[in-house]
């Protein structure tokens, strides 16, 4: 078997001949005699060749694909290369596998041309931009390969485990990650949302616990190479004619190979690495290495094997196409391996061309091989997917892979989802992570293409784009569009958490992290899928630059308007706006539209969409912040993506400027539900920067200004503080911090996992509680201060108080600085609370030292969490609370002055048995209605009842338990009406027949009771001036004979009790004269006025004097 390969490598036989030899049992006529001779001797082995080849490749790649050896040698070139390549090749090409090597002609035309043409007119050459705008030569040549960051596969859902920076590529036979096609109903309802939201993280443990069984499936069986003794029972050794020389040779070779590998590493390096259990620190020490075509060890040999391999694939000689495809992908995305040169010193150049030497000696080889295979056979492979189900299966794989690879850090523009970069871990345990970041910064282009870069496919995305272009398979594209549309609809309709103000607002911010993360994952997935959908959907229409004009345009428009959209994005947009989910829908829609061709914006369907987007854009006024409206960062995100979209060359400028006056009030607001995603704080700054990296241009601009450099070649100054291991020593604080973090990691390492979980849980909860506590104490105190300051302000400035906004500013400027205390208080809180919680949750038997360390770590983590939140948000929180307090105070001061007055509660002994206010209002209303009439002859009230009623009123007013201000107001008004009716003697009295009038003494007693109630018991204002309203005074007009004495009595008492001022009464009496009265009534009224006015300001004696003046009424008065 090996002999066949050997002869192939020695170029004794051609690839074609070998393939023919495998494929057909008989020799073809094309074969030349020499080849035939060479191959005919091996006829017995023909059937075994393909398994051999496949296993050979697996075997050869085993050092790359499984978990690496525990102490991988850092390739000497890798770290040296970093500083040697300042500002190295631009970021855009990182990880774009098909561009790792100088593109073949065929590929460059297929993959690059359309984009180059597309981006050409306004933006300059597209590909150059994609690569960071650093010029075509550098970007395209790709000679020096950038860091493999782009190919880094990290579990995208595991931001909480920053130390695990590497993992295997997805395991195709893992049923969790790739369920069988038939087993999962493709409908959106049939799946658990949670699985859909989070792309399955490709974690290390998983790949360890589930070996790559995909490669052991029959008929190709894996060598159980972890046990060399088992070699003899190797399935692929069975069934061969015994004593076959070549087989013996092969076994010998394999033994050699294995011993080499065993020497290289104590851990078995076969594809079934159950025994390998790499520790976090170990995994952390692995480095990535950029693939470099110049460093491919034996190019010719690789090319040949690749050719044979791809021919086998092309001829359907391999059992499972996808498996092979997956394998190639794995090679393509491999990130590290032991360099054979380092570990195998006896390897001489002489053996390089034979099978004695490993086929893949470096990552360069792997990548080169994979690219060779892919170059040869993308199209061929597509051609093989004849059945529709194969296409759909493949598309599923493609989509899954796309999501996993491009969302992993360093993939799509390379940002870890969720957590902000953790400085501590950067400095501490994860030194290599730090180096990696440094490398990232060095490698990253200095400018991402200006503030408005054209749409690009950064990182891994480039590979997928190139795949689509290279495959150029109509079926594949159609299936891909179907699948992407479905997935987009599914994700877009996902019920994301609504903003449930479960806790007070401030603290909920802390607890919202999880939801935010979920939202970010969904949003980024949607954007990615939509981008590819847009790319594929508009691909056939993207043509030469200038958009067609005139008749041509008309005909194209007519034609295109007949084509149904690949996905009904207009409806999705409308629904999204209505449901207040714009913050989810619009960003992906923008990605989709960014790939539209020039005709698209002219189509009515899409024109509608653009109009809607324009209206949305206009409605998002950042300064208009109010409750029930969109959150600020949500708005900012939408503005950023929309702004970016409007600048894309294919979107005509006049669309934005000439769009006929979009209604500024965005009408969908009115029909929207009260709470949608838009109102929830789902976007954070990080998501904003992830989605719109170009926002960072602003910072760069400012930074370059600060550093005094305008930046050469369009780039901006990027200042890198050199950090090396040695220099850390010079910074004691950082060192100790780093050491502490390292120690903490180490501490947890040998403790049960529950300890770590407990500590993290405690830190998480205490941190959150701390914020709540600060809000309930410090912030609440500040709000109280604000309220009293505001009261002072209102007193000094009078009722108006000035402009509320201005007041708020004044208060905030006074109070916000106090927010600085929050950090100290927070630290103190965490210090106080965390240890107890840790102690309570850990087993009693935990050793003291472990316990105290756990406590300290919990304190540290909780403090970190709380202080991070507080320092970022405390000012905004105080501001918001003070704002609410101000509006509360101003409202209370407004229409209801009664609410301002200080209210007394019930007395301590009150048992709240007083009659209910509603009952009293109702009773008094009945009396009023009786008095006003109409009434039946037998209707009336008894004087006792009236007295009882007023007594009850007193009780009710003294028990405040059930009394609300409006009820008190009405009671006050009714009591005044009642007094007026008493004065006018209008209340029908039940009693001995014919006595329909209240006795004067009784009336006066009742009036006294009322006066006392007004004076003592009403806490709100009583509208006493109504006593002198024309309507109430007019009641007297109907009485015969008219009795003025009660009115006069009442007025005097009012003055005496200080309930009304003399001046006030005089004014009321004065205005009464202006009303129209019957002649005699007006006269009597004038007399009353004169009487009242004539009284000197002295009380009792003068009262009697006046009685003398009016003897007829004086007698009545004297009775009192």
């Amino acid at each position: 078997m090996a002999a066949v390969l050997e002869s192939l490598l020695r170029e004794e036989v051609s690839v074609a001949a070998v393939v023919r030899w495998i494929a057909r049992s008989t020799q073809g006529s094309e074969d030349n005699a020499g080849e035939a001779a060479a191959l005919s001797s091996l006829r017995a082995l023909r059937k075994e060749f393909v398994p051999f080849l496949l296993n050979f490749l697996r075997e050869q790649s085993s050092r790359v694909l499984p978990q690496g050896p525990p102490t991988p040698a850092k390739t000497p070139g890798a770290s040296a290369a970093l500083p040697g390549r300042p500002g190295g090749p631009p970021r855009g090409s990182r990880g774009a596998r098909s561009q790792l090597f100088p593109p073949t002609e065929a590929q460059s035309t297929a993959a690059e041309a359309p984009l180059a043409r597309r981006g050409g007119r306004r933006r300059g050459p597209g590909p150059a931009r994609e690569r960071g705008g650093r010029g075509l030569e550098e970007g395209v040549s790709g000679e020096s390969l950038p860091g493999a960051g782009g190919r880094r596969l990290r579990g995208s859902g595991s931001p909480s485990r920053p130390s695990l920076t590497l993992s295997d590529p997805p395991n195709l036979s893992n049923l969790e990650e790739f369920p069988p096609v038939g087993s999962v109903p493709p409908g959106p309802t049939g799946t658990k949302p949670s699985r859909r939201i989070n792309p399955t993280p490709v974690s290390e443990e998983r790949s360890l616990s589930k070996p790559k069984t995909c490669f052991t499936s029959p008929p190709i069986s894996c060598v159980p190479s972890s046990q060399p003794s088992a070699l003899d029972t190797s399935p692929w050794g069975l069934g061969l004619p015994p004593g076959c020389r070549s087989l013996q040779e092969e076994r010998e070779m394999l033994r050699k190979e294995r011993s080499k590998q065993l020497q290289q590493s104590p851990t078995p390096t076969c594809p079934t690495p159950e025994l390998g259990s790499p520790l976090p620190s170990r995994t952390g020490s692995l480095t990535d290495e950029p693939a470099d075509p110049a460093r491919v060890s034996s190019r010719q040999r690789l090319e040949l094997v690749a050719l044979v391999y791809s021919s086998c694939i092309a001829e359907n000689l391999v059992p499972n196409l996808f498996l092979e495809l997956f394998f190639v992908f794995q090679l393509l995305t491999a990130r590290r391996m032991v360099t054979a040169k380092d570990s195998d010193p006896e390897l001489s150049p002489a053996v390089l061309d034979s099978l004695e030497s490993p086929l893949f000696q470096s990552i360069h080889d792997c990548v080169f091989f994979a690219v060779q295979v892919l170059e040869c056979h993308f199209q061929a492979m597509m051609g093989q997917l004849s059945a529709a189900c194969s296409h759909s299966h493949f598309v599923r794989l493609f989509q899954k892979q796309l999501l996993q690879m491009c969302q992993s850090p360093g993939g799509a523009g390379g940002t870890v989802l969720g957590e902000a970069p953790d400085v501590l871990s950067m400095l501490g345990a994860d030194k290599l992570g730090r180096l990696w970041r440094l490398q990232e910064r060095l490698m990253a282009p200095q400018s991402s293409g200006g503030p408005c870069p054209p749409p690009t496919f950064p990182g891994c995305q480039g590979f997928f784009r190139d795949f689509i272009l290279s495959a150029s398979s109509f079926q594949f594209n159609q299936h891909l569009m179907d699948s992407l549309s479905l997935k987009i609809q599914e994700l877009n309709g996902l019920a994301l958490p609504q903003h449930e103000p479960n806790d007070e607002d401030g603290e909920s911010d802390v607890d919202w992290q999880g939801e935010r993360k979920q939202f970010a994952v969904v949003l980024l997935s949607l954007r990615l899928l939509a981008k590819f959908l847009g790319f594929v959907a508009f691909l056939p229409y993207r043509g030469p630059e200038p958009p067609p004009t005139g008749e041509l345009q008309d005909s194209i428009l007519a034609l295109r308007s007949q084509v149904p959209p690949v996905l009904d994005v207009r409806t999705l947009l409308q629904r999204g706006l209505q449901a207040r989910r714009a913050v989810l829908t619009v960003p992906w829609l923008v990605e989709f539209l960014s790939f539209a061709d020039h005709v698209v914006p002219l189509l009515e369907y899409y024109r509608d969409i653009f109009t809607l987007l324009l209206r949305l854009h206009r409605s998002l006024v950042l300064s208009q912040e109010s409750e029930g409206k969109m959150c600020f960062l949500n708005k900012l995100l939408l503005l950023a993506v929309l702004g970016w979209l409007f600048q894309i060359p294919t979107v005509p400028e006049d669309l934005f400027f000439l769009e006929e006056g979009p209604s500024y009030a965005f009408e969908v607001d009115t029909v929207a539900p009260e709470h949608g995603l838009d109102n929830a704080p789902v976007v954070d700054q990080q998501l904003l920067y992830t989605c719109c990296p170009y926002i960072g241009e602003l910072r760069k601009l400012l930074a370059s200004w600060v550093s005094g450099s305008s930046g050469r070649s369009g780039g901006f100054m990027r200042k890198i503080t050199p950090t090396t291991t040695t220099s850390l020593g010079a910074q004691p604080s950082q060192t100790s911090q780093g050491l502490q973090a390292q120690l903490a990691q180490a501490f947890f390492h040998n403790q049960p996992p529950s300890l770590r979980r407990t500590v993290e849980f405690v830190a998480e909860r205490i941190g959150s509680n701390c914020v709540k506590h600060i809000k309930a104490t410090l912030v609440a105190d500040l709000v109280r201060q604000a309220e009293s300051l505001l009261q002072e302000q209102l007193v000094t400035q009078g009722e108006e108080g000035g402009d509320p906004a201005q007041l708020l500013e004044i208060l905030c400027s006074q109070l916000c600085p106090h927010g600085a205390q929050a950090l100290a208080l927070g630290r103190e809180f965490c210090q106080r609370k965390s240890p107890g919680a840790v102690r309570a949750l850990l087993p009693e038997e935990t050793p003291a030292a472990v316990l105290s360390s756990a406590e300290n770590i919990a304190v540290g983590l909780a403090t970190e969490k709380a202080c991070a939140w507080l320092s970022a948000n405390i000012t905004a929180l105080i501001r918001r609370e003070v704002k609410a307090a101000v509006s509360r105070t101003l409202r209370a001061q407004g229409p209801e002055p009664a609410a301002r007055g200080e209210r007394r509660g019930c007395s301590r002994a009150c048992e709240h048995h007083a009659p209910l206010p509603s009952h009293l209002i109702s009773e008094i209303k009945d009396v009023l209605s009786l008095a006003v009439g109409p009434r039946d002859p037998d209707e009336g009230v008894s004087p006792e009842h009236l007295e009882q009623l007023l007594g009850q009123l007193g009780q009710t007013l003294r028990c405040r338990q059930f009394l609300c201000p409006p009820a008190e107001q009405h009671l006050a008004k009714c009591s005044v009406e009642l007094a007026s009716l008493l004065v006018a003697d209008q209340i029908p009295i039940l009693g001995p027949p014919a006595q329909y009038r209240l006795e004067r003494g009784q009336a006066r007693r009742l009036l006294h009771m009322l006066l006392s109630l007004w004076k003592e018991d009403f806490q709100g204002p009583v509208p006493l001036q109504l006593l002198l309203s024309p309507r109430n005074v007019g009641l007297l007009a109907d009485t015969r004979p008219r009795e003025w004495d009660l009115l006069l009595f009442l007025l005097r008492e009012l003055v005496e009790k200080g309930l009304m001022g003399r001046m006030e009464i005089e004014a009321c009496l004065g205005s009464l004269h202006q009303a129209q009265w019957p002649g005699d009534f007006a006269e009597e009224l004038a007399t009353l006025s004169n009487l009242f006015l004539a009284e000197p300001h002295l009380p009792e004696p003068q009262l009697r004097a006046c009685e003398l003046v009016q003897p007829n009424r004086g007698t009545v008065l004297a009775q009192s």
């Binding site: 007070e504 206010p917 209002i921 109702s922 209605s929 006003v932 059930f962 009820a967």
Partner: protein, 287 residues
């Protein structure tokens, strides 16, 4: 006071085209002496409101308004002290307070240059002394104090009743040692639609004939009678929302309800006419 549908229908039947006056109420009480006055008043008020909602439009045609206004003017010219407006309202089967508003609006349209604003009208109805015409002021006042279903006084009474029952419920909860969050606290937390009380720890209400009890997370106090119309509106606007957000809960119709409406117990909305007595709290003690 829980009524069967039949009992309720009997009462409602007696209320057809009865004017909302003191006298009508008195008659109703005599007719149903066994029912509580508050329940009767509540049913009366609701039935009357339904009636007004049905007929409201016909009183608001410009022809109707004009004819009422003319009749009012003719009436007061004859005798300003007679209950012209009240009689007119009773005659045309319209609420006196609403008739007063109608005529007042019409009057102000005639006498003011600008059409009167709603707030001015409301203010005049609250305090008829502000009405520039003395006769009209008296007429309006008479309508308002004689109307037991509409008008500012009735509104205030209804509001007060609602408030009082909430306070009552709060006291009962405190007495039973059930900790809760009230509407104000919930609003301060940003909820826009909240029941009167949310129990911080849910309780189980045992039912006399049922083995298992009903979990209660929230309690809503309704100081009215639960008839079909209002209950369905509340279910739609409030109760199901609460249920959705907070789980099963209890509605107390202090003035009773139609028995047949208490059909959502299993689904999580219980009706009671008073505070439940047999409550089991989490510590398994019977309250």
């Amino acid at each position: 006071m829980i009524l069967t549908k039949a009992q309720y229908d009997e009462i409602a039947q007696c209320l057809v085209s009865v004017p909302p006056t003191r006298q009508s109420l008195r008659k109703l009480k005599q007719r149903f002496p066994s029912q509580s006055q508050a329940t009767l008043l509540s049913i009366f008020s609701q039935e009357y409101q339904k009636h007004i909602k049905r007929t409201h439009a016909k009183h608001h045609t410009s022809e109707a308004i004009e004819s009422y206004y003319q009749r009012y003017l003719n009436g007061v010219v004859k005798n300003g002290a007679a209950p012209v407006l009240l009689d007119l309202a009773n005659e045309v089967d319209y609420a006196p307070s609403l008739m007063a508003r109608l005529i007042l609006e019409r009057f102000l349209q005639e006498h003011e240059e600008t059409p009167p604003s709603k707030s001015i009208i409301n203010s005049m109805l609250r305090d008829p002394s502000q009405i520039p015409d003395g006769v009209l002021a008296n007429q309006v006042y008479q309508c308002i104090v004689n109307d037991c279903c509409y008008g500012p006084l009735v509104d205030c009474i209804k509001h007060a009743i609602g408030h009082e029952h909430e306070v009552l419920l709060r006291d009962l909860l405190l007495e039973k040692n059930l900790s809760f969050l009230d509407e104000d606290q919930l609003r301060a937390k940003g909820y826009d639609k909240t029941p009167d009380f949310i129990l911080q720890v849910p309780v189980v209400m045992l039912c006399p004939l049922a083995v298992e009890g009903h979990i209660i997370h929230w309690i809503e106090s309704k100081a009215s009678f639960g008839d079909e119309c209002s209950h369905h509106a509340y279910l739609h606007d409030q109760f199901w929302s609460y249920w959705n957000r907070f789980g099963p809960g209890l509605v107390i119709y202090w003035y009773g309800f139609i028995q047949e409406l208490d059909c959502n117990r299993e689904r999580g909305i219980l009706l009671k006419a008073c505070f439940p007595t047999n409550i089991v709290t989490l510590c398994h003690s019977i309250a």
